[in-house]
């Protein structure tokens, strides 16, 4: 959480096209160095895909973007994560407020055990939304491509839906409060191929209004939906397992003409 001030950094705030400027120099879990040297600018209105082998720290970096990692004991980030020109790890920043602006969709669909309607209205009520809640719920469900399937069972439990529907419900819940950024942590890994396809179409649809950061274990998914791809790998040279950013660039470049040998090998499927 202590931000190290470094001289060679020209701008403190965000470049205009960057929604979250993540400069994770070091992320610790206790004494263990989990991630190093990962500067990942999340560009506005685009999907940034995080790929890499297991344990490369891609989820850890993603969860640092809305301070979800604060829940983990011993978590510490050196560096800064700029959102609207403010370092979200600076003193006096309330992580609760940060999370209200940066929504999150998890690996396992996790609707609340409430009705479909209440699930989507949850964030609105939390923020004491004064407008027409019904309209906003319908809008959010429509955006999540779920409205037609659930409009007749808004009172049914969110847990009664299928896995893919639950995940779209979670997306609707996240977009109902209109955050600027959506973090998606392997949102399709618990879903079947058809449900995955729908979520991917939905992401492409949503990126017009939201900035999306997507962790995926599935390289093809990144190739299909991400505009920018960040490739992470694991460094086991110092005895530990430290993740780091190998390279980041337009998805086409990363998949067709990567700069780094390691990226090339990973894309070719030589390790995973």
């Amino acid at each position: 959480m202590s931000a190290t001030v470094s001289v060679e950094r020209p701008q403190a705030g965000n470049a205009p096209h960057v929604a979250i400027d993540c400069r994770a120099d070091k992320i610790f879990h206790g004494k263990f160095l989990a991630v190093r040297d990962s500067n990942v600018p999340i560009e506005k209105g685009k999907i940034t895909g995080f790929i890499g082998p297991s344990g490369c720290g891609k989820s850890t970096v993603l969860r640092s973007l809305n301070r979800m990692n604060d829940l983990i004991k011993g978590f510490r980030l050196e560096g800064e994560v700029n959102f609207h020109g403010q370092d979200i790890y600076a003193k006096g920043i309330d992580p609760v407020v940060v999370r209200r602006h940066i929504g999150m969709v998890f690996q396992q669909p996790n609707p609340f055990s409430m009705s479909v309607f209440e699930n989507v209205a949850f964030g609105l009520k939390l923020n004491r939304f004064k407008g027409d809640i019904h309209e906003r719920v319908e809008h959010a469900l429509t955006r999540a491509a779920l409205w037609d399937e659930v409009k007749d069972k808004l009172k049914a439990s969110g847990l009664s839906l299928s896995g893919g529907q639950q995940q779209r419900l979670c997306i609707a819940r996240a977009v109902a409060t209109q955050p600027t950024v959506l973090l998606m942590d392997e949102p399709c890994s618990a879903l079947d191929p058809i449900a995955t396809r729908r979520i991917e179409e939905l992401m492409l649809e949503l990126k017009n209004d939201y900035t999306i950061a997507l962790v995926t274990h599935n390289m093809q998914q990144a190739a299909r939906v991400a505009d920018v791809t960040a490739f992470f790998s694991v460094d086991i040279s110092h005895g530990g397992r430290t993740g780091y950013l190998v390279e980041i660039g337009p998805t086409k470049t990363i998949f067709e003409a990567p700069q780094e040998q390691l990226t090339k090998q990973y894309i070719r499927g030589e390790f995973s």
């Binding site: 979800m68 829940l71 929504g103 609340f112 055990s113 209440e118 009172k155 996240a174």
Partner: protein, 302 residues
């Protein structure tokens, strides 16, 4: 052509003969006999276990059912040689003391459970509170009565329904705390993560997600605890005492079904003994109602 799998099958059968195995039932094989023996044994033991329960219910219905009438619920208990009468004040007293116990114990128990399950589950205070609660669940109920006698009755200067309620609350507190804690721990972490990801403070996670999700189980625990203390007599002996009149204030002593059963069953009058049976039936019906209620509420809601 013999595949590897068939070879293995042949070898497990011992002989390499290609004959078809017999699939017929053989009831005198040792395994089949053991199966029959265990099944019959389990049935028998279950039947033996049900005998006391069923015979108690049967006795209550036969002996107590005779006096079941409106009069039973509206009249005061009769004096020595009087005929008729009812147990209205005892029903009133039981319901009032149990209500007082619930009002005192539920908020404390639920808040304590929130602390144990959500706020500081690993702290030393939590470990101590959990340990003491477990000890208290096995606490002899008469000691709860003695404790409240010293703490409330002596202080207020008289036996009272309030003191009775406090004594029952002491008995309810640990069970409700532990069941509520268990219910909140059962709420999946990913639901709590979702709430945190939405920008909930710790308190909002608890009030908007954990408690509502755990509520059916918490209510079940509460109702079962209520049902248990409704039949307690020992703690009331030292606290609520008994009364032959309607309860007008919770600062007065009160009758209760359990104490009435105890008092009347040892009297030499048939009328009182009949009333004791009727009171037993009513008490069982009250407890049963609570149990059935808890089954309905304990079902997942939405």
């Amino acid at each position: 052509m013999i595949t590897k799998a068939t070879q293995m099958r042949e070898s497990t059968r011992g002989q390499g003969s290609p004959e078809t195995p017999s699939l017929m039932r053989n009831s005198f094989e040792p395994r089949a006999l053991r199966d029959v023996f265990l099944t019959v044994g389990a049935w028998l033991v279950a039947a033996v276990g049900a005998v006391p329960l069923l015979s108690v219910v049967y006795m209550l219905i036969v002996k107590g059912g005779a006096r079941l009438s409106l009069e039973l619920f509206t009249e005061l208990p009769p004096a020595g040689f009087e005929q008729g009468g009812g147990i209205g004040n005892a029903i009133q007293g039981t319901l009032v003391t149990v209500a007082i116990a619930a009002v005192i114990s539920i908020p404390i128990a639920v808040l304590a459970a929130i602390y144990l399950a959500e706020f500081r589950p690993d702290s030393r205070i939590a470990a101590l509170a959990r340990f003491l609660s477990k000890v208290l669940t096995g606490f002899p109920s008469i000691l709860a009565g003695v404790f409240v006698y010293a703490a409330v009755v002596l202080l207020m200067g008289s036996y009272s329904a309030l003191a009775g309620g406090v004594a029952l609350a002491v008995l309810m507190l640990p069970t409700v705390t532990l069941t509520a804690e268990g219910a909140m721990r059962m709420v999946p972490q990913r639901m709590k993560d979702a709430a945190i990801g939405m920008g909930c403070t710790n308190a909002e996670v608890v009030w908007h997600v954990t408690v509502p999700t755990a509520l059916p189980s918490i209510v079940t625990g509460v109702i079962l605890a209520v049902a248990r203390v409704a039949g307690e007599s020992a703690p009331l002996l030292f606290t609520a005492l008994f009364s032959n009149y309607w309860l007008r204030s919770i600062r007065e002593p009160t009758a209760s079904l359990a104490i009435l059963i105890y008092n009347f069953s040892s009297m030499p009058f048939d009328n009182q003994i009949e009333l004791a049976w009727a009171a037993s039936l009513v008490l069982v019906l009250i407890v049963l109602t609570f149990n059935i209620l808890s089954r309905f509420i304990g079902r997942p809601q939405v």
